[in-house]
Subunit: 138 residues, 2 copies
DNA sequence: TCAAACTGTAATTAAAACCATTACATTTAA
DNA sequence: TTAAATGTAATGGTTTTAATTACAGTTTGA
């Protein structure tokens, strides 16, 4: 299985955006995502670090958006949860006598970086507001 | 992250492109990538299925490109090895009473698909010939 | 003031993904 | 006919990921 943190985080943020201003607990969010509340809380911490949400402890605690859904794009969430790069670079040491081997790491690094940028650029164009609109239109 | 199969496959293809027309064995390729010959052979099978290379069994066997490096782009290799999608969709069943939960799967599917397309579009712009040129220019 | 309902966080377990490795049948060249 | 390859199945070990348990700290409100 691949890392679902980004997927989970988008779900959580969409749920928060769907009920503007409301404070929602990790229990409720976990039920919506169908995962464990602790998993949700860890993601909420990451989203809070990125200043996308604020959280409240104690009874009636939970999380709430800090910005408007149209001001939050998926790249904000992507950066908040810091998923592994789309293309991993082979970190093993090169075969000295092989010209290709000696240069692949730096070459693949550039490919990986530019691909990452392409993904981020794409995600930048999708806002939470758009996702919420899709939820509502069904 | 996508697994290293794509990274390994690009390395292998670059090595083949670096020695045009030459048949190179899995042993040699594995040494360049710094992995096991069996791992390489499995990738070679995938690349062959995609008709990017041809392989030869028996003594002096190995692999060779079937097209010119400038006619092979990284998306061809990407498609050949079929890595897991960049964004995985949460396949768990939705919480019936939650409107967001019920719609997230189809919404995230579209996000995942379009992101995949963004990656493929980017990779389509990078050819093996370009990578080989970079190897040579060092 | 105390119990209930939360969050924050560490530690552990379980499952999945990934790659390496072994083994061997088959093919080919010399 | 032997040596050197590929093709491919099976197995094992490591790493990654998510689930779970546990509990201290915070807040609300009866």
């Amino acid at each position: 299985m691949v890392n679902q943190q980004f997927t989970f985080a988008v779900h959580i943020m969409t749920a928060l955006a769907f009920s503007p201003g409301e404070v929602i607990g990790s229990q409720t969010l976990a039920a919506s995502v169908n995962t464990n509340p602790v998993v949700v809380r860890r993601l909420l911490l990451a989203l809070r670090r990125a200043r996308l949400i604020e959280t409240f402890t104690g009874k009636h605690g939970g999380a709430r958006l800090r910005k408007k859904p149209r001001e939050i794009s998926l790249v904000d969430i992507y950066d908040a949860v810091e998923p592994r790069p789309v293309i991993p670079v082979n970190e093993r040491k090169a075969l000295k006598k092989c010209h290709v081997s000696c240069n692949m790491k730096s070459i693949m690094s550039r490919v990986a970086e530019s691909t990452e940028e392409a993904v981020r650029k794409h995600l930048r164009g999708i806002t939470l507001a758009q996702l919420v609109r899709k939820v509502r239109s069904r």
